[in-house]
């Protein structure tokens, strides 16, 4: 009897050290990392670099799985997109980019508004949606 009481006391003591760990229903959905950044208008000098998409939203997200870009300081760029399909496949492009005010234009395509986060992440917003591009350091 004494041993049982001792075990019970130990368990109660242990339980007191363990707080309830029920997840709030609001937190059940996995969060996406791009949600909490602070964005500011980008400068042309902040664009050159290599980027990988972190989040795609809008109509383009229906068919795009990911994009990768490389912007050169001299105005050249190359990019690859993984498109949904049967099977999914990559498309590769290259051309020249131009920057005016806060708008980026690739070749003669539509303009995209560019914002940048403190960690160098870019956000491109155009008529078809928004792309969050994480800055990468290619090996």
């Amino acid at each position: 009897m004494k041993s049982r009481l001792l075990c019970l006391a130990l368990l109660l003591t242990q339980a007191a050290c363990i707080s309830s760990s029920v997840l709030d229903p609001e937190d059940r959905t996995p969060r996406e990392t791009a949600q909490d950044r602070e964005w500011s208008e980008a400068l042309e000098s902040e664009l050159p670099g290599t980027y990988v998409s972190e989040q795609l939203t809008g109509q383009l997200a229906v068919v795009l799985r990911m994009v990768v870009y490389r912007f050169e300081p001299d105005g050249a760029y190359t990019g690859a997109a993984l498109l949904d399909g049967d099977p999914p496949h990559f498309e590769v492009i290259s051309g020249s980019w131009s920057f005016k005010s806060t708008a980026l234009r690739l070749d003669d395509g539509p303009e995209a508004q560019v914002h940048v986060a403190p960690d160098g992440t870019l956000r491109l917003s155009g008529p078809d949606g928004t792309v969050i591009l994480r800055r990468e350091r290619p090996l």
Partner: protein, 368 residues
């Protein structure tokens, strides 16, 4: 004196007689017409003239009737001919319609093949424009081209619901601000589609109550896919969603180990759900939302039971279909031993299971 009176009377009488005569002449003169003729011959000529005029009018009338009759006959003949022409044209149209209906399956298959060839052509053009031959491994085909077009030997195809707009979107491409030519297409409810679970962005978990404290177990390793027509889920839903039984994480290593033992995760490696029905309770295609009752077979520890889960689904800003739902289950229904320590600390038999799934519609339609 008398003599003068008589003269005056005589004059007055003469005047009165004259006045009466004049008045009578005036009154009778308007009603009397006097004709002068030379005899009965003139009257016969007038009648003859009248008779001639009547005869001439009769002749004209006969000619008019004859002309009208001829014209009416021509009009009737023309109407009959036109009717025959319309009937013949209708017959030809019916024949063409029948021929088109007979050729429809082959045409749809040919169109699908054309769409695939167009997509392949676009990819070839993109590759050519990219001027990046070094990126293409030598010895491997540039693209996968199906060289057996269905138009040569049309295979039997069962088309339950033609979706011409889907085929069109495979061909029509639009230059996006990302400089890629992307198919102009948006999420839709209509049509049977296959949705793949995005494992990294999905969760399945449970909330359990124990004697001392409550806890949650979560699995982030959700896999699977399902096929459904969101506009007509009554046509059926199929697929499978699984989690590894040993992937449930409660935040305590010892409790996780005990959970694996209770679920016998070595013998029964996965928890499995196979949806079989979806009954809508609310659907708003314009907002891309729906609520419903998802039925299916849930298998835990090798024991399968039919369940019905209330779910809410919507399409998020990344055009992914998200599913949320939760329900209660009894561990004992699935043969899961109730965790119990020394008969003092135990977990409730009833646990609340919940799911948060994100899924992506595959591009191609499913036609089976």
């Amino acid at each position: 004196m008398i003599k003068q009176g008589l003269q005056l009377l005589g004059a007055l009488s003469l005047l009165a007689w004259t006045a009466v005569g004049v008045a009578a002449w005036v009154q009778v003169g308007d009603g009397v017409h006097v004709r002068f003729s030379q005899g009965p011959v003139e009257a016969d000529e007038s009648d003859q003239l009248l008779a001639d005029r009547v005869a001439m009018l009769s002749t004209d009338l006969d000619e008019l009737v004859a002309a009208l009759d001829a014209n009416l006959r021509r009009i009737a003949a023309a109407i009959d001919g036109e009717h025959e022409g319309v009937a013949a044209q209708s017959a030809r149209t019916q024949e063409r319609l029948s021929a088109l209906e007979a050729a429809l399956p082959s045409a749809l298959q040919a169109r699908e093949t054309a769409g695939a060839l167009s997509a392949t052509l676009a990819r070839l053009e993109a590759l050519a424009n990219a001027d990046s031959a070094q990126m293409i491994p030598t010895g491997e085909p540039l693209v996968n081209v199906d060289t057996t077009p269905a138009t040569l030997e049309p295979a039997p195809v069962v088309i339950t619901e033609p979706e011409p707009e889907v085929v069109a979107t495979q061909v029509v491409r639009k230059r996006s601000f990302l400089a890629f030519d992307l198919p102009s297409r948006d999420f839709r409810f209509e049509g049977k589609q296959q949705f793949e679970i995005l494992g990294d962005l999905s969760r399945v978990g449970f909330d359990a109550k124990s004697t001392l404290h409550d806890f949650t177990g979560i699995s982030n390793r959700v896999q699977g896919s399902f096929t459904v027509d969101l506009a007509h889920p009554e046509n059926g839903i199929s697929g499978v969603v699984t989690i590894p039984a040993d992937s449930l994480d409660t935040g305590l290593a010892g409790r996780d180990e005990a959970l694996r033992v209770h679920l016998d995760s070595i013998e029964f490696a996965e928890v499995r759900f196979e949806p079989t029905s979806l009954a809508l309770t609310r659907s708003d295609a314009s907002r891309l939302e729906l609520d419903g009752l998802l039925g299916g077979k849930l298998t835990i520890r090798g024991v399968s039971r039919e369940i019905v889960v209330p779910i809410q689904a919507h399409v998020d800003e990344s055009r992914r279909l998200t599913l949320e739902g939760e329900w209660q289950l009894l561990l004992s229904d699935y043969g899961v031993p109730i965790p119990n320590q020394l008969g003092v600390v135990s977990v409730d038999d009833e646990v609340r299971v919940w799911l948060r799934l994100r899924s992506r519609a595959r591009t191609r339609n499913v036609s089976h």
